[in-house]
Amino acid sequence: MTEASAETTARGRLSVWLFVAGMAGAGALVGLLAQVLRQNTKTFSGAFMDLGASTAIWLTIGFLLARWIAQTRPPRDRIAWISVVLAAYLFAWLIAYHTLWGIREQLDFAQVWPQMRFWIAAVAPVCVALGLVAVFSLRKDWLGDACLIVPIGWSLRDAYFYGHQGVSEIVVVAIPTLLAALIPAATARRRRWRPLVVAATLLLSGAVFYLLMSRFTLDSSS
């Protein structure tokens, strides 16, 4: 290995681990914020509590960060590395969220772990799926169209569920959740959308995530 290539490799290793660390930090912050919103019943209204316990908006934040990172990465191993940074975000979010819950509720690890373990188990497949969506959303073809719409699909359930609970939930949870999910599609300027792909993706992903997230949300981790 030449001196130049060794330096390039070291720089590459450093930059990607910086992204991983940054995403872990972002995930931890998001997890702590979500749990603070969730638990501070005296400070925040019920709508903010719902925001803390919701899933889609926090997932979308991680997705947006990962997508931004994907734009800066070279093509080689990009999906794999974006999956890794997403895993860092998801692990940190879930661990911070549940850990703060355990601390505030004075629970033992033995009581917290059963609530957290299946979420942790889900990270491996979810980070790969989200990594694929994040990277493919950069494409200009129909697959790119579909991947730009998927975040809206996974946000529909939370928007619908919390939107039914009152005006404050619509303002605090449903609208921000949908706005965040719209960011990838809204920022894709001069894109020639394929309406059929958009409609089919919205319908399919909305239905799939509605079923999935109705069963598996942080809002029902009992």
Binding site: A53, D77, I120, S221
Partner: protein
């Protein structure tokens, strides 16, 4: 321009992710500090001393705790709180009572927020209970009815 990190880093990261997710999938965690049926029943009885049930209701003589199950600390206290809550809920839902009496019973429900059970609910349960109480106060008692249907009628 970012250079590509070596594959070995990627393999390490993938291994770490798989390992952590596998722990979540396969490890049930340390044994919970479960209480025995008698200790949970003692918690229940202690909590019952501080709670006033709705008129016509009495604390059960036989408690639903068995030694076949493990109970977390405070499970008995929480169960007593829930029994207390549902006696007032059943009264609020009783069509044989006058509107004023039912309204008075409804007004007891927010007191759940001061109980041990509420303080120790996981966030989603707390949110559901809040929504249920708020809806009941607004006149929509369907969730309340479903939540406390296990209690039956006054005895």
């Amino acid at each position: 321009m970012h250079s590509v990190p070596p594959r070995s880093s990627l393999y390490c990261a993938a291994f770490a992710i798989l390992a952590l997710s596998s722990v979540g999938l396969l490890w049930h965690g340390p044994a919970d500090t479960a209480g025995s049926a008698s200790s949970v029943a003692a918690e229940y009885r202690k909590e019952a001393l501080d709670l006033k049930l709705a008129p016509g209701w009495h604390w059960p003589t036989t408690l639903p705790f068995t030694n076949n199950s493990g109970y977390g600390k405070g499970a008995g206290t929480a169960r007593a709180d829930e029994y207390w809550f549902c006696t007032w809920a059943r009264r609020a839902l009783s069509r044989s009572l006058g509107l004023g009496t039912r309204r008075q019973a409804l007004e007891q429900l927010p007191k759940l927020r001061g109980t041990y059970a509420y303080a120790h609910y996981i966030p989603d349960t707390r949110s559901s209970m809040d929504a249920m109480i708020n809806n009941a106060l607004r006149g929509n008692t369907s969730e309340l009815n479903a939540n406390c249907s296990w209690l039956g009628s006054a005895r």
